[in-house]
Symmetry: C2
């Protein structure tokens, strides 16, 4: 059994989420040392400069060596490779967690790749973010008063869950548990579908002949509506693939609803339009704290 | 010929837009008196209390009497009735303008209802707003550094256009001219379609069995994306009817693009997804000043 020398945290993927987590736990002194790992040397060097991480290591095996907490914060398509590379280098006492936006695919990857370490893997997802990417965009307050969802399975060590929970609570987040499949459905509806719709809208308009003029007259509502279309394309490609079934289900329902609305416009059906818009406004006003 | 006693402005519909215009021109002392007109006495009384208008009159004929500028800021479905009621009471020198989100339907209503006064009607549309409604939500800075589009026709008096332009410039807006049909196409794409999509999304999610939970886990991106679904339902019903053809055209294209994206997800077509998301991100980052 390898011995953990000190409280060391390894963040694989020092981007907006990984970097913000590092900043937040550093402020609380939860770890003695924070190691960054990732593919872009420039980003890792910048993260050291900014004081987000203490140092970095590009070899995943070396990066996780001697760490007691490993956080995987890479696009979902990279998880399998990352798990495979860390497997033989993890201390027995190390806990591994992640921040992926879909949980069933990550659990499957972890189960296949982590071997014995799988029981110390705690699937997690902080419900926080901006449209920006990279260490530069990270900030310690990102998780304050936000939710972090953990989706442990029957195989997950209870002690590992407790350690991941403690880490996130120290960022100011509220930590809750959820079934993995249920997480994937809820996130498909509230996050993945809106991103798909926003990307499509910008792409539809960008293909129009008056594209320059169109974007020129876009007002505040449009800016807010399409902000999420400035998110990282690789990350969202991977989410669409990883959470395909749940996304397809809610997207299909959305397309049916949009067709019904389109029919109401075509038919000058004023009462159907008023009813739908009123119902939506009420649902949003009731449920969402707007500002 | 009726004589205009002093510089009087009449705002029909003292809501977010009408109220903000009144506040902005009042700060510059452009008019000696500002009369409000509208259906809700409570809203008009509040507007007087807040110092937005000097007094109010619920009869449109009396409200426009002796005014040299009349601004119609009501939902598009109410324009025809408003024009008919003011027609016989407008001073010959009065200029009438509006703030409607679709211009061809307003021009048609004005042409039919205003008689001789039609030549002094200047169709206009400030590209500004929030999801809030009512006089209470208005603020003088709403139009600062925003665009106001005027869509005069061949019949419109050049002097009337100049007076409306001067009014809007005094709010800090940049005033530009556009063909009515072109305005309606550009706004269908940048404003009307996004509202339709956001209302539909909230309605789709609100109909799901996990609706309460879904809204509970909605993060910042969702809040921004759906903010416009908190807009006034009557206003947006009327916009969908008034600008039906332009909205149907861009909505149809959007539906085709969304179906293509849905097919790419279904087929695990990673390169199609990456390409689309990258293209959209680039288009947005290049064209939109995000914050």
């Amino acid at each position: 059994m390898k011995k953990v020398r000190s409280k060391r945290l390894c963040i694989i993927g020092v981007g907006l989420i990984g970097g913000s987590l590092a900043r937040a736990v550093r402020e609380k002194g939860l770890y003695h040392e924070i190691i960054g790992c990732g593919r872009s040397v420039a980003n890792l060097e910048r993260a050291v400069e900014l004081g987000i991480i203490d140092n970095f290591e590009q070899d995943i095996g070396k990066a996780v060596n001697d760490c007691d907490m490993v956080v995987v914060a890479v696009p979902l398509g990279a998880f399998k490779g990352v798990f495979e590379q860390m497997k033989d280098h993890l201390p027995d006492t190390a806990v591994v967690t992640d921040v992926g936006s879909a949980k069933q695919s990550v659990i499957e990857d972890a189960k296949k790749a982590l071997g014995n370490a799988y029981q110390n893997f705690v699937p997690g997802h902080p419900i926080a973010g901006t449209e920006k990417s990279g260490a530069e965009a990270s900030f310690a307050e990102l998780f304050q008063e936000r939710r972090v969802i953990l989706t442990p399975t029957d195989d997950t060590s209870v002690e590992a869950v407790a350690r991941v929970r403690a880490m996130w609570e120290c960022t100011g987040a509220e930590v809750i548990d959820m079934e993995p499949a249920h997480h994937d459905e809820v996130l498909a509806a509230t996050s993945h579908l809106p991103h798909v719709l926003a990307y499509t809208l910008v792409d539809t308009l960008a293909a129009m002949s008056e594209r320059d003029e169109i974007f020129q007259y876009a007002a505040g509502g449009f800016r807010d509506f399409t902000r999420i279309a400035s998110s990282d394309p690789a990350m969202w490609r991977d989410i669409c693939i990883a959470n395909r079934d749940a996304i397809m289900k809610v997207l299909g329902q959305y397309q049916r609803d949009l067709t019904a609305l389109s029919q109401a416009i075509l038919n000058n059906d004023e009462s159907a339009l008023f009813e739908l818009f009123s119902r939506a406004k009420q649902a949003r006003d009731r449920s969402i704290n707007s500002d």
